[in-house]
Symmetry: C2
Subunit: 170 residues, 2 copies
């Protein structure tokens, strides 16, 4: 069970990046995303709408108090940050523990206490880039590229060499 | 040599996603990003500014005519799309050819001709998510997680277990 916690969302400014975080969490195999920061119904609705249409049990929710979310979480807490240790060195150790996982991703400024509350502060390169990228590469490595199945999909994309092949259940 | 081509950028609406595309391209080992769509000096400047500070030779540029950019490119053209074949099946084949690579990433609507102009249409899962994620996972797989070195960096982040360790050259 993998939960993603997205810190300090701001409507408008972060809308698309936060949406991408939610969709990546779902597509790459996490079970839910909790958004913190400012409440943004449109964001949560748009991520859950993709789940409804493309299947699976992924859920996007909101919690105002991110400190409590981290404190109350039973399992391993991984904070993805450009300042952390290379993810590659730690991912096997984390998997071996076979516990629930919380992946914390921030926005521009992550409060210092997050670094202390996390069990691991890990980086996907020590270069500045993107929380969307960090999350996707971490999940890709964690699952070794094995793709999740999405049950009860109304819309299914069939891989094709050229063009678009989409099956829709009516 | 890897070139990323980002299609149909729109200032304001795409600013942050397009910035993330540029930073991911750089951090994960590409050599340059070409933005198409509307010209956005601020975007290009912000990506190049990261290169100047964090080192390496990455360059962000703009080309209005993306068709010509694709047509004139000598090498393998990979279009990342949710509709494509799973990337995992093709990446080894592409690497074996040892040619220059162009990675094409779109925004909401990619013109149909891009699917024809590309040598490969590849997907990172057939679920809707993010061009930032697709690009990062593709590059991560392509380089097998081997991190690039960035020469002449003014700012260097030293990986640490907790907190921030940044070295700045004056």
């Amino acid at each position: 069970m993998i939960t993603v916690l997205r810190l300090s969302h701001r409507p408008n400014r972060d809308e698309r990046i936060s949406t991408h975080c939610g969709l990546v969490a779902r597509a790459m195999g996490a079970d839910k995303i909790i958004y913190s920061g400012e409440y943004d119904e449109k964001l949560i609705e748009s991520v859950n709408d993709v789940s409804r249409r493309f299947g699976g049990r992924f859920a996007a929710t909101y919690e105002k108090n991110w400190r409590k979310v981290i404190q109350n979480f039973k399992g391993i807490k991984v904070h993805l940050t450009v300042y952390g240790l290379p993810m590659g060195e730690k991912i096997r150790e984390i998997k071996k523990k076979k516990k629930n996982l919380m992946i914390i991703i921030g926005s521009e400024k992550v409060p210092g206490e997050v670094y202390k509350m996390a069990d691991y502060n890990l980086s996907v390169t020590n270069q500045p880039h993107s929380e969307v990228a960090a999350l996707s590469v971490f999940l890709h490595e964690y699952y070794k590229g094995k793709e999740k199945k999405f049950s009860k999909a109304k819309i299914k994309i069939i891989p094709s060499e050229r063009g678009k092949n989409v099956r829709e259940k009516k």
